[in-house]
């Protein structure tokens, strides 16, 4: 026996009403955020939030694998590791020991564009954390034995993420093939031989060039008095002298003239298909439309590609997508995980049929509204925590010109029209401007002729 259902409030058209909601909601807090540019050019941004007695810190360094050279790929990422390994004041390991003893935890990540250092700590540890963070920017030590030991750690990380991982292995080859001139072709983790060959001089030069205060943006969110945080930031970071601006990355990727193909045979049960399309940079005015396009294509069970390829045609077991939003034009990835024994060419044909329709017709107003609402909720989810707030402040400051643009994000999401979305779809989803990666088990026999036709 079931109880009677509770009726929905009558007369609400969920599409229309939800759209109105995403337009109406404003992110509050803009007036509470404080910022400063230190005398040495370093940017500091503070957002006071008092839900829990903690602070999240993100220190953004404008250096990633984009800033590397052949023969020394992976250096930016290796640096991320070395930044925890001792200064002229603190022995290796002290950074973590001191931070943890005051209740703090930390991590870091490196991408094509940036290296980001993260700390999460009780408000009482603010001074200690800023002291430690400034110390490693000012006085990093390079101890030969520690460099050797850390090489082993990074090699292990590479085996985990690339060598023993079908997705990682294929993506590395696709990215290396998608770019011929731009350093976005370098894998962030580094080529194996490069991991073994960095020299002390390489590290010292990289540190001098990129770990300069004028190349850093520090974002804090949490239980903090902004004026005190800014004063502490001045005390610890301002004495560090500015350096000449890092050399700009001048390489511009030439227009891609034809589809490129990568085929990997690896001991695996399930084949993979990845398509990497050339896509705009993060600061491109079309960025909100690109984000919503990706959301309409792959986010959720009702997304266009999930429904068509996983549910209707059942050619894939999973679809995914990712836009590498960087300083320079990068890649928009669409990937399909395929069932064992599947022919990747069939998966690709099914994907292409869907994308051709999207490129020609765009998506419906209902699909766009769904994408707008999902993106709006996604933004609010990140804004619910001090970690999300600190990361968002930094992202907008570093990639979108100013932290305050964050507060315009709901409006930008709401303003994307079906016409705008169709225009970016037509431009990005062009088979001539993509690189297709296929991974298959050795015993299967995909159409090799087709796989190499685009080379």
């Amino acid at each position: 026996m079931s109880p009677p259902p509770v009726p929905l409030a009558a007369g609400i058209d969920p599409w229309r009403a939800a759209g109105a909601a995403s337009r109406r909601l404003q992110v509050s807090g803009r007036d509470a955020v404080r910022e400063a540019t230190l005398a040495n050019g370093m940017r500091v941004i503070v957002w006071p939030v008092r839900n829990i007695p903690n602070i999240a810190l993100y220190n953004w360094v404008r250096a990633g694998s984009r800033n590397e050279m052949p023969g020394a790929t992976g250096l930016a990422h290796f640096f991320e590791h070395m930044m925890f390994n001792g200064t002229s004041r603190h022995r290796p390991g002290e950074f973590d020991r001191l931070m943890e003893a005051e209740g703090g935890a930390n991590n870091a990540f490196t991408s094509d564009d940036v290296t980001v250092y993260q700390d999460w700590f009780p408000a009482s540890a603010l001074e200690r954390v800023l002291d430690l963070e400034s110390d490693r920017v000012a006085r990093l030590a390079f101890i030969p034995e520690v460099i050797e030991s850390e090489r082993g750690v990074v090699a292990s990380e590479r085996r985990l993420r690339v060598d023993d991982n079908s997705h990682g292995l294929l993506a590395e080859q696709v990215q290396a093939t998608a770019f011929v001139a731009h350093p976005y072709r370098f894998p962030t983790i580094g080529w194996p031989a490069d991991i073994q060959s960095w020299r002390l001089e390489d590290l010292q030069a990289f540190y001098r060039t990129y770990y300069a205060p004028n190349n850093l943006t520090l974002a804090l969110a949490g239980d903090v008095d902004p004026e005190r945080a800014l004063a502490l930031a001045r005390r610890f970071f301002e004495p560090i002298p500015a350096q000449p601006a890092p050399p700009p990355v001048r390489a511009v990727e030439p227009e891609q003239l034809c589809e490129r193909r990568v085929l990997i045979r690896r001991q695996a049960q399930t084949p993979l298909l990845q398509c990497a399309y050339k896509a705009p940079s993060a600061a491109d005015p079309r960025a909100p439309a690109v984000s919503l396009l990706l959301c309409a294509l792959v986010e959720g069970d009702a997304s266009r590609l999930h429904r068509a390829l996983v549910e209707d045609r059942q050619v894939a077991i999973e679809v995914g997508g990712h836009w590498q939003e960087g300083f320079d034009p990068g890649l928009l990835w669409l990937s399909l995980a395929l069932p064992a024994g599947a022919d990747p060419e069939e998966g690709l044909a099914a994907l292409d049929a869907e994308l051709a329709v999207i490129a020609a017709e765009g998506v419906t107003e209902a699909e766009l509204e769904r994408a707008r609402n999902l993106s709006t909720v996604g933004l609010w989810k990140r804004l619910a925590s001090i970690d999300g707030k600190a990361q968002l402040l930094g992202e907008y400051e570093v990639f979108h010109g100013h932290w305050s643009r964050l507060f315009d994000a709901p409006g930008e999401i709401a303003d994307v029209s079906t016409d705008m979305l169709r225009a970016v779809a037509a431009e990005i989803l062009d088979p001539r401007r993509r690189t297709v990666g296929v991974l298959v088990p050795p015993q299967s026999s995909p159409d090799d002729a087709a796989a190499s036709a685009g080379q």
């Binding site: 026996m1 079931s2 109880p3 009677p4 259902p5 509770v6 929905l8 409030a9 969920p14 009403a17 939800a18 909601a21 909601l25 829990i52 007695p53 903690n54 290796p92 390991g93 973590d96 020991r97 943890e100 003893a101 209740g103 703090g104 935890a105 999460w120 540890a125 050797e148 030991s149 082993g152 750690v153 990074v154 292990s156 085996r159 023993d164 001991q267 049960q269 399930t270 986010e299 069970d301 009702a302 996983v310 549910e311 077991i317 999973e318 995980a337 069932p339 064992a340 769904r370 707008r372 609402n373 999902l374 709006t376 909720v377 609010w380 989810k381 804004l383 619910a384 001090i386 970690d387």
Partner: protein, 456 residues
């Protein structure tokens, strides 16, 4: 300043439903967390994965909506809906914009009370799940190692079952299995429902009562979990992953349950042993030796003791060296114990970090359901800082004795290239071997079928 359970309301509907309402207005989102007692422990022992498939099937059509219409209405307003099984629960949770909270509750009532449970959807989900397990084996063996470890350690005990099923069991599950679970184990007395965030508490309470207060009790009695027996001695499972660059390993034994009275001391000792970057394990396997990207340890604590486990990985030729270090470090914890100074550092760290997991309405929706599920009460949160403050060296050493296994009484699982590591693993105890591509997570020792043992 510290973190305490926020103001909330707990209502008990007549039929056994526990309803918890926690308003919080920082962002315009509402979260629901519906927890149903049951889970993998209700699966037929020969076909694990029934609870997990049922959970996934709940969203594939309910009330007047088929699977597509359901996804359209949820995602159309930007909402999310996710269901999954655990060892002792099926959980359904989601998040919506505050303006859609009525719709959210209506959809939840459909999912729990009026799921369509269509056979074709079930077949598609099961087939896809089989392929997703294969895909995980291809790309994330470290992610699956706990599933192999629990199967090896717990054997026939329900904690040994793969929550999401195995390739073999998923192929065998049919509509009847799922229907039997739903008919027997779903009902008002099994439901804990937490609604948190920017809710209209009065409206939500009224709607929840209208929807769920007449839901009959589950037809079958709730299954009872036996306490698992710890492993005496040492044994090794080798899962062959030919050509792998690294060996991924897991070392475990039966630990303690959710109501373990020395929980604060347990958290401090585990923090020191394998719970943070400077832990003993990570110091030995990463910081000092450079052998591995990382090493961690943890306790899974349920109604009865789950597993203590440590996990790491190292290049194939360093398998023995890394395992030696891991076991020696476990041994050292027992022989050397911890110092007052170490405890103070772990205390500061644990006190400093735990508020970060109790920040958002979604965090509280999880914690409040847990308190209800395990009968813990708000003191579990509110008294935690005082309990941490009171832990001394003697209690820490008692915990090491009670909860951490001796290095010579552990199950060891290694996923790696058998042809290159089998000899090294033989040093640690009798070795059972299976292939990563085998369609089960356990081999002959559980099923009695010796023909599946390969390369023995």
């Amino acid at each position: 300043m510290t973190v305490r359970v926020p103001e909330h309301e707990r209502l008990s509907l007549g039929n056994g439903v526990a309803l918890v309402l926690m308003p919080r207005r920082d962002v315009p989102l509402v979260t629901f967390n519906a927890v149903l007692r049951g889970g993998t422990l209700c699966d037929p022992s020969s076909r694990p994965g029934v609870a997990s498939l049922l959970a996934a099937l709940l969203e594939k059509g309910a009330g007047d909506r088929n699977a597509y219409a359901f996804a359209d209405v949820v995602e159309g307003v930007g909402g999310s809906f996710g269901a999954g099984a655990g060892p002792e629960t099926i959980g359904v949770r989601g998040q919506f914009l505050a303006r859609d909270q009525q719709l959210m509750l209506e959809l939840l009532a459909d999912v729990l009370l009026r799921p369509l449970l269509e056979e074709e959807e079930l077949r598609e989900l099961a087939a896809r799940q089989v392929e997703l397990i294969r895909a995980a084996k291809d790309s994330d063996p470290a992610e699956l190692i706990g599933t192999y470890g629990r199967a090896f350690l717990f054997g026939e005990h329900p904690y040994g079952r793969p929550v999401f099923g195995s390739e073999a069991s998923l192929a065998a599950i049919d509509r009847e299995d799922v229907g039997r679970y739903y008919d027997g184990q779903f009902g008002g007395d099994r439901l804990i429902l937490v609604l948190a965030g920017d809710i209209d508490a009065d409206l939500m309470a009224r709607m929840a009562a209208d929807s769920f207060s007449r839901w009959p009790q589950a037809a079958a009695p709730p299954p009872v979990l036996a306490r698992p027996r710890p492993l005496a001695g040492r044994r090794v499972l080798l899962v062959d992953f030919p050509g792998s660059a690294q060996t991924y390993f897991w070392v475990g034994n039966v630990g303690v349950d959710k109501r373990y009275p020395r929980r604060a001391a347990l958290d401090l000792v585990n923090t020191l042993f394998g719970g943070r970057f400077t832990s003993l394990l990570n110091t030995e396997l990463r910081i000092k030796s450079g052998l591995s990207y990382g090493a961690r340890s943890s306790f899974a604590r349920g109604s009865v003791p789950g597993e203590f486990s440590l996990r790491s990985f190292a290049q194939t030729e360093n398998t023995g060296r890394a395992l030696d270090i891991a076991l020696r470090t476990l041994d050292r914890l027992r022989t050397e114990g911890v110092s007052r100074e170490m405890l103070d550092s772990a205390r500061a760290y644990t006190l400093g970090q735990y508020p970060l997991g109790l920040e958002t309405a979604a965090d509280w929706a999880s914690m409040l359901a847990d308190l209800e599920l395990y009968g813990l009460g708000r003191t579990y949160v509110d008294d935690y800082p005082a309990q941490l403050a009171a832990v001394g060296v003697a209690e820490a050493h008692a915990v090491i004795e009670e909860a951490f296994p001796a290095a010579d009484a552990v199950a060891i699982v290694a996923i790696g290239d058998a042809s290159r590591i089998r000899a090294a693993l033989g040093e640690y105890g009798p070795v059972s071997q299976m292939a990563l591509t085998d369609p089960e997570f356990s081999g002959w020792w559980a099923s009695g079928d010796e023909s599946r043992s390969r390369g023995g």
